[in-house]
């Protein structure tokens, strides 16, 4: 590893942050304390951490339905994230977005997205704006293997290449789209094959190896920043939990053996072994990271639980910048006065 100790510890820390956040969210959901769908990123931490550690704070990313990991890796605040998941007024989106639509513009995170593929062209637009403003920023579009089947991905990839924009397409190939194995819905094995069709280079990296992901991203980002145009990174990875939630609810679409084999390659634990083996960190250093961040998570849960729900009339604001269109509701006054039910 040629990376500095700081960078390596940063990669590790970001992965642990994601893991802790996701495990906590999963537990809360199982205890019926989190409303809504929850798509956990556990198992794929090396991808978000490896990519985002190669970005500057003001670079842009777009995310997916499985978006917590991307926001955490970009520096997302645990408190505001947890509050958003719980639908609290103190959440990132004042409780309006929830898990699947969480965003933080100040971190360049343009949003998780409940619509598969929708983030990809948005990242292209951000890359255009980056280039237009000549600020040297780049954009990264995160998306899954399944998302490369939808038109939005193809239109975005082609447009980015045609316009020669500073963007990196980061594919998290976890071999499944929901409950359907990749080979049932596409005839190619490697997503990277799609890159050539649009005229951009692509690489496959081991998505369980945070260093490999990071180094590939450094190259792709440097290229984009220098005006070299788009490229695609396909990270081969795996999600450890169900498509949404934690358990599979007894519905089998992949074998326990398959899950077990991938879990042996846990991106965090394998990286920790390497850190210890080469003497970059001690077991105590690593333990320290986990426990400090564990305290942060506990504090975030308490913060979110103690936070108020939004006032009912807040439902009606922020639809438009200036205009609210509720006067034609005959029961509008009941809403503003005491909430609706």
């Amino acid at each position: 590893m040629e990376l500095t100790r700081d960078v390596q510890m940063d990669l590790h820390r970001r992965m642990v942050r994601i893991r802790l956040f996701e495990e906590a969210a999963g537990r809360l959901a199982e205890a019926a304390k989190l409303p809504g769908f929850l798509h956990l990123y556990v198992g794929e931490e090396a991808v978000a951490a490896g990519v985002c550690t190669a970005l500057n704070d003001d670079d842009h990313i777009t995310s997916t339905h499985r978006g917590h990991g991307h926001l955490v890796a970009k520096g997302g605040d645990f408190n505001r994230m947890m509050a958003e998941l719980m639908g609290k007024a103190t959440g990132y989106c004042k409780g309006k977005g929830g898990s699947m639509h969480i965003s933080d513009l100040s971190l360049g995170m343009l949003g998780a997205n409940g619509i598969v593929g929708a983030g990809t062209p948005i990242a292209v637009g951000a890359a255009f704006a980056d280039k237009y403003r000549k600020r040297g920023q780049v954009a990264v579009a995160f998306f899954g293997d399944g998302a490369t089947n939808i038109g939005a991905f193809h239109e975005a990839a082609n447009m980015a290449c045609a316009l020669h924009l500073p963007i990196v397409f980061a594919c998290e190939n976890n071999e499944y789209g929901e409950f359907t194995r990749r080979d049932r819905t596409m005839a190619i094995t490697d997503i990277v094959d799609r890159a050539v069709g649009y005229g951009m280079p692509g690489v496959i990296v081991d998505g369980m190896d945070v260093v490999a992901v990071h180094e590939a991203t450094l190259g792709a980002v440097a290229r984009a920043r220098a005006g070299g145009g788009p490229s695609l990174i396909e990270a081969k990875t795996y999600r450890f939990y169900n498509h949404h939630g934690v358990q599979n609810l007894g519905l089998k679409y992949r074998t326990d053996d398959e899950v077990a084999v991938w879990k042996q390659r846990d991106p965090i634990f394998s990286f920790e072994e390497r850190l210890i083996d080469v003497g970059t960190a001690t077991a105590a250093d690593i333990e320290q990271v986990w426990s400090a961040l564990g305290d942060d998570i506990a504090a975030a849960i308490a913060f979110a639980e103690d936070s108020p729900l939004p006032e009912p009339d807040q439902l009606l604001v922020d639809v438009y910048t200036t205009h609210t269109n509720h006067t034609n509701h005959t029961d509008h006054t009941s809403m503003t006065a005491r909430g609706a039910s």
Binding site: F37, N113, I115, A152, L251, V319, T330, G339, A340
Partner: protein, 404 residues
């Protein structure tokens, strides 16, 4: 009262099954709901039946079985697909997770094993492709039943739906048609937030050439889906996902009630159909007419009970074609009208209903028509129950309109 309606609906099926005669079913059903127009509807039904027996080769033996059993709405939908896959080789069904996995709402569970991967299959995440492919299949005489996993995902497919499926027949001078049924779970109440809760029905009713259906219970869901699949026009079949497992009256704080305890949760195993374009009166009453559909039918029934307003609750079942006869007869009787839907207010289907009622019942109306709907906002993550038009809001509107 609802119970009477329900019993006679089920009786109808039994009669129908015994007689092996779909036209009877339609007629009897019509008698239940719109007793003023039997003859007219008979004609339509006979046409339908002829057409159908020609296209799908129905025989009397196939026309149903006597056995009924409790089914949740998703199971009733599966049963409809099963019946139609069994009856008609031209029927195919497909969508995301539909084949091997059996659908995220289990509506196609077991069907791939039974009918094979060439008839029940998985598609890529590609809504434009899914619908476009269905158009091509249908133009060539298949009867595709694509599933869009959530109605919220249909937008990438709207181009094929609006520009192609809906217009194929008109622009080819009726040479081609797209006899396809697009199934999509819709509606809120499941903490789905803005991309898993929408009620986009008025987008479809606004498109000439599409028919739009939304059942409120398992019995209707099966009969309407069969009619939709047999229909020779493209049909949008919206399934309120909140009521897949049980009727939901908006009292989210109460335990979930299963369909097995509801009369309309008893569903015949075999073939039967409920013709498109017929509303059902779920609760007869004299104070006012409620026009509603989907999940809100149950909310309106309970709102009538709780508010003490003797509301006549009409479950439209099919938004297009619309059963104006049943609507007009009811408003002529009550003189008042409240329209309730989950979808947002502005340009919602309620606007169409209000215009229809005022045009045809102007002289019967004794009060302005009210609409109770979702707020004009995207569907929020937080405080879903402040957003959802629940029984308190609906009941308050009933009282206002009765007092007006």
């Amino acid at each position: 009262m609802a119970a009477t309606q329900i019993t006679s609906d089920n009786d109808t099926v039994d009669n129908d099954t015994a007689d092996n005669d779909t036209a009877d079913n339609d007629t009897a059903d019509n008698n239940d709901t719109a007793d003023n127009d039997t003859a007219d509807n008979d004609t339509v039904d006979n046409d339908d039946t002829d057409e159908m027996s020609m296209t799908s080769g129905m025989t009397n033996e196939q026309a149903g079985e006597l056995t009924s059993r409790p089914m949740a709405m998703n199971i009733a939908i599966r049963s409809a697909l099963d019946v139609m896959l069994g009856r008609d080789d031209d029927v195919v069904t497909f969508g995301e997770d539909v084949g091997y996995f059996g659908g995220v709402f289990r509506c196609t569970d077991g069907l791939q094993q039974k009918y094979g991967v060439h008839r029940v299959f998985d598609t890529p995440i590609a809504e434009g492709g899914i619908i476009g492919v269905a158009v091509g299949m249908a133009a060539y005489g298949l009867r595709p039943v694509p599933e869009i996993q959530f109605a919220d995902y249909v937008y990438p497919g709207l181009d094929q739906l609006i520009s192609e499926a809906a217009r194929l027949r008109y622009r080819s001078g009726a040479e081609f048609t797209a006899a396809m049924t697009v199934r999509m779970p819709c509606g809120g109440g499941i903490h789905g937030g803005q991309t898993h809760s929408q009620s986009p029905e008025s987008i479809f009713t606004h498109v000439c050439g599409l028919k739009t259906v939304m059942p409120s219970n398992p019995y209707d869901a099966k009969g309407l889906l069969i009619a939709a699949i047999e229909d020779n026009d493209p049909v949008i079949f919206l399934e309120p996902k909140r009521i897949y497992n049980g009727p939901f009256d908006g009292h989210y704080e109460r335990p979930v009630v299963p369909w097995s305890s509801h009369p309309l949760g008893v569903v015949p195993d075999g073939y039967y159909r409920i013709p498109l374009g017929r509303a059902a009166i779920r609760r007869s009453g004299n104070d006012l007419t409620v026009l509603t559909y989907g999940t809100m039918v149950h909310v309106c029934e309970v709102a009538a009970q709780e508010s003490g307003v003797d509301a006549e609750v009409i479950d439209l079942r099919t938004l297009l074609p619309l059963d104006t006869d049943t609507i007009e007869a009811s408003v002529a009787k009550t003189g008042r009208c409240v329209i309730v839907h989950e979808a947002t207010l502005t340009s919602g289907f309620g606007a169409e209903l209000a215009a229809t009622v005022q045009a045809s019942c102007f002289y019967s109306l004794e009060a302005p028509i009210e609409r109770v709907t979702g707020w004009d906002t995207p569907y929020p993550h937080a405080q879903e129950w402040d957003y959802f038009p629940g029984p308190a809001r609906v009941g308050a509107a009933f009282k206002r309109v009765v007092a007006a």
